[in-house]
């Protein structure tokens, strides 16, 4: 265990949470006009927060609120105190921006060190980090955490599967960090290349996250690689990976001395008791640059507060069961249907009829967009239509950061085959992978 707070008695933990929550409320109320207005509308002053029970009286924050204050409108520090900025892809061109002060980076590195310490990663370990490096928080989050615990980190990022396997074998990687689907893809390519997984590789544990994984996929990865499966949960709005981490007993512990969880009814906003399924909500209580009050993650889960066999007293969240919105996760990348629509409108000048089809190609997700060709967009020439397809594919890659296959179809095809209002067809493994 990295930090003894993880196994502290609940009363002690809650005392820390309350003090930090009170500080955070003061901070946002006095430094962010958005929160002052929200608190005032509800008739709450920061001083009214006297117990953790009062958390439920505070206003929610949504992804839309972050977008409305693009890029830095919700920051509580001047830019000269910000040392890192990350950003996710945006639905209509506007991304969600998050910032970190030096202190925030320390918090992030701390929770990532706790994550890796779930299986005592440390000096002597080689962490093969295949999460994407860049604006996405996955790659750099694991990177800094691995350095903190004293492991050697290989910043391989995504892609180049065969070369990754070579490095994993030759560098003697002991820890694998990537999306679960990429871990399975690595296993399949390794077998094709003639490797014997358990003999040629020394992977003892894996940290898998950024997308949901079915129980079947988890068992498959454990079996094929012979590893301990640790789940990594996080979202950039809260901090990135490191919000919660799976222990060897398979329980996903929330680092709640930094991020206080609640589960609410997504319809009414009412807080639900432990054991009931609802939307996960987080309040950050140690962040400086971008503290967030009651952020609605849209992830559907259940909370439990019994102590775990691993010794941790931290709240356990079940693996995310689904989404309260229409967000799709494609090979670990978040995609909203509205982003797809935005690209179509931008390229075609009008919004065509379309449908998004999600399927599996081997173990990886495959996203197709079927676009109806109408009299206006129909150019009489195979070349012109192929060019339209290529342009749409390129724009999708630019805006969504994923490869999308465009298929041009006749009008009414979509209506005929799948009913008018249905914009999304998810043919992926229904068990867990389907959101």
């Amino acid at each position: 265990m990295w930090n003894e707070i993880e196994s502290a008695p609940r009363e002690e933990l809650e005392k820390i949470q309350l003090r930090r929550l009170q500080d955070t409320c003061q901070r946002v109320y006095h430094l962010v006009p958005f929160y002052k207005k929200k608190f005032d509308e509800l008739g709450i002053k920061p001083a009214d927060v006297r117990s953790l029970e009062d958390l439920k009286r505070l206003p929610f924050t949504t992804k839309q609120d972050l977008r409305d204050h693009y890029p830095f409108g919700l920051f509580t520090v001047p830019m000269d105190q910000v040392v890192r900025i990350h950003s996710s892809s945006g639905t209509t061109g506007k991304p969600t921006v998050v910032g970190y002060t030096k202190h925030d980076m320390e918090v992030w590195i701390e929770v990532m060190a706790r994550t890796l310490s779930m299986v005592d990663v440390g000096p002597g370990d080689v962490v093969h980090n295949a999460y994407g490096y860049g604006l996405f928080t996955g790659g750099l989050g694991f990177h800094y955490g691995a350095e903190k615990v004293g492991a050697a980190v290989v910043p391989s990022s995504g892609g180049f599967t065969k070369r990754q396997l070579l490095l994993m074998k030759d560098f003697g990687a002991t820890i694998l960090a990537c999306t679960p689907s990429f871990a399975l893809h690595l296993a399949e390519v390794a077998k094709e290349e003639g490797y014997e997984l358990k003999k040629d590789f020394k992977i003892r544990a894996g940290f898998f996250g950024a997308e949901p994984a079915s129980q079947g996929l988890r068992e498959e990865l454990k079996e094929q690689w012979g590893l301990i499966y640790c789940e990594a949960y996080g979202l950039s709005e809260i901090i990135g990976p490191g919000v919660a981490a799976g222990c060897p007993y398979g329980n996903l512990h929330i680092f709640e001395d930094h991020f206080i969880p609640e589960v609410i009814d997504p319809e009414t906003g009412e807080v639900l008791p432990d054991g009931e399924e609802g939307e996960l909500v987080f309040t950050t209580v140690t962040k400086q640059a971008l503290p967030i009050i009651r952020y609605r993650t849209k992830d559907i889960t259940v909370l439990h507060r019994e102590p775990c066999k691993c010794g941790r007293t931290l709240t356990v969240m079940e693996s995310v069961k689904g989404r309260a919105d229409d967000m799709l996760i494609v090979n670990g990348v978040n995609v909203f249907p509205s982003q797809v629509e935005h690209v179509l409108t931008k390229v075609e000048g009008t919004t065509p009829n379309y449908v998004i089809v999600l399927d599996k190609k081997g173990v990886l997700d495959k996203l197709e967009v079927w676009v109806e060709v109408d009299d206006k967009t129909f150019a009489d020439g195979i070349g012109a239509l192929e060019a339209l397809k290529a342009r749409l594919q390129q724009e999708m890659l630019n805006d969504l950061y994923i490869n999308v296959k465009i298929k041009l179809v006749e009008p009414k095809t979509l209506e005929r085959s799948m009913g008018k209002a249905k914009r999304i067809i998810d043919k992926r493994d229904a068990e867990g992978l389907k959101k």
């Binding site: 109408d374 129909f378 009489d380 020439g381 195979i382 006749e410 095809t413």
Partner: protein, 147 residues
């Protein structure tokens, strides 16, 4: 010149799907439309059916009503002797006038004659017709195709 020699061709977007061609042809048959010339271009996922028919206006409304995506284009037709070198000669004239051919198709007519249909970029259509007439070629007037 376009008015005199331009022929209305209908291009229809078709998915590569079983039975789709049959649906187009049935719609035309049921409306008693006669196909005078046709060509089908294909790619991996879709095709374009190009038709010259006896009544383009009627065909257009019938196909639109049946939900097909279509487009009307001006093409032109050249009548040549049905013998070696005839096609080459027309292409040579267009090439000499620096005109690109988008696509072309042909059919054999009666009396040792053949008819070649050409689509060129619309801004060069006038030039193409003029170049061919200047070289003494015979252009087919729309009335040959229409009722």
């Amino acid at each position: 010149m376009i008015k005199k020699y331009g022929i209305k061709q209908l291009s229809i977007f078709l998915e590569n799907r079983k039975g789709r061609l049959l649906e187009v042809t049935k719609a035309l048959r049921d409306a008693s439309i006669n196909i005078r010339a046709l060509a089908l271009a294909e790619s991996a996922e879709f095709g374009i059916l190009r038709l010259v028919v006896n009544n383009p206006e009627k065909a257009k409304s019938v196909l639109s009503a049946s939900g097909f995506t279509l487009r009307e284009q001006d093409v032109f037709a050249v009548e040549v002797p049905d013998e070696p070198g005839s096609f080459c000669k027309v292409v040579e004239i267009l090439s000499g006038a620096d005109i690109n051919i988008d696509y072309t198709y042909a059919f054999v007519g009666g009396g040792k004659k053949a008819v070649l249909i050409f689509k060129v970029p619309s801004e060069r259509l006038e030039d193409a017709i003029k170049a061919l007439l200047d070289s003494g070629m015979t252009l087919v007037e729309p009335v040959f195709f229409y009722d």
